[in-house]
Amino acid sequence: MARRENILKETLKIVNVGLQSFAEDLKSQGVEVVHVDWQPPAGGDVEMLRLLERLGLG
């Protein structure tokens, strides 16, 4: 799904994945942001992950 609208004209609405401090800095600027409490997939096992992705489950 490709978007062609110009991001430079839009109000930013942000999903933050990773360090929570970034989400906090954005909130303090009044930006709407949802923070994802990210965990490594498949227990962080990169091999397992590749396998799951090949099976369409990753």
Partner: protein, 339 residues
């Protein structure tokens, strides 16, 4: 979609002897006690700890090194303080959250006795000097810095003495914050007292001065505890390699160890009691091994590794090692501080 609903499955690569004993209980073995960026601590039913860590932290007597990506914080395992931990034969389980298989994990039992590889005293002293010089510059402990300033690069009586000039009484280690002024200032005379007591072989005084040190300082393992842990571990290594006679060592360590219960945090107790029997985490053991058998460059490298442990613990442990080994080699240590 995705696998986030499944429990995290991983393997233990290595397990310390104590951790192994504690986790071979079957059934409910304890709870998740605390979650740090680099460790998940499990409190067993009899109030002891096991630390689940990644290989970046390294092996150790109470450590279980799990197969996790080095940079993912331990908090990403999805555990919470208070979660029940079960032991089922060859795995530790937090129901619905984590399964850590311990089958095939190697047991951490590092070598302490080095036989012919042991360096002569002069070699060991050169290594200690190298470590001290490195730690003075890269150290991260105000308490340790206070003490290190008062130590000569090479102890008195050695031909190539290049001792530093007498320390000035200027205050402040890294800064003039409260922690430096008060805790470092309080620690210095007590460390001095302790060292005098050990060198005089005055056992009651050893016990008293140790009781004035244990629990003192900032840190989850208080600064003075870490110095004592490094001290005891190094004495045990010295004993194993016959650098110093056993009976005195045993007595000194008993006096220190007798002061430990109820005086400090649960984690520090673990480290102190293990140090008392010559067991410690990998960065400590590795440094001791290199000081006793390798060259200054390798010692500096191992020192760098140890200094990066914790906030200030690594530096304090290194100081303890220095003090313990110099005393074991029969070199006099005087900090020049009134008790």
């Amino acid at each position: 979609m995705g696998v986030s609903g499944m429990p995290l499955q991983t393997r233990a690569r290595s397990i310390g002897r104590t951790a192994l004993e504690r986790s071979s209980v079957r059934g409910a073995m304890g709870i998740v006690h605390s979650i740090f960026p680099s460790a998940v601590n499990i409190l067993t039913r009899d109030n002891h700890l096991i630390s689940v860590v990644s290989s970046r932290v390294g092996r150790g007597p109470i450590n279980l090194v799990a197969d996790l990506p080095d940079r993912a914080p331990m908090s990403s395992m999805g555990l919470e303080e208070g979660d029940d931990v079960w032991s089922g034969g060859a795995a530790l389980v937090v129901p619905d959250r984590v399964v850590i298989s311990t089958e095939g994990a190697s047991v951490y039992q590092p070598e302490r006795s080095f036989g012919h590889a042991l360096l002569p005293a002069s070699g060991i002293e050169n290594n200690l000097t190298a470590m001290l010089r490195y730690a003075r510059v890269r150290g991260r402990s105000a308490v340790a810095e206070y003490v290190m300033r008062r130590l000569p690069d090479t102890p008195p009586g050695r031909p190539e003495q290049s001792g530093r000039p007498a320390p000035s009484s200027s205050g402040g280690g890294l800064s003039t914050e409260m922690q430096v002024d008060s805790f470092a200032g309080a620690a210095l005379p007590r460390v001095s007292d302790f060292l005098l007591a050990v060198q005089e072989r005055s056992y009651p005084r050893i016990r008293m001065s140790a009781s004035n040190l244990i629990g003192l300082g900032p840190g989850l393992t208080p600064s003075c505890d870490d110095i004592l842990a490094g001290f005891m571990a190094s004495l045990r290594f010295a004993e194993e390699n016959r650098i110093i006679a056993g009976d005195h060592i045993t007595r000194v360590i008993e006096e220190i160890a007798s002061c430990v219960p109820n005086r400090t945090t649960i984690l520090s107790e673990e480290y102190l009691m293990h140090a008392a029997v010559g067991e410690a985490n990998e960065p400590v053991v590795s440094l001791l091994q290199r000081i006793l058998t390798a060259g200054p460059a390798e010692v500096r490298s191992a020192t760098r590794r140890l200094l990066s442990v914790g906030a200030s613990s690594g530096t304090e442990i290194a100081l303890g090692i220095l003090l313990g080994l110099r005393i074991a080699l029969g070199r006099r240590i005087a900090l020049g501080v009134a008790a």
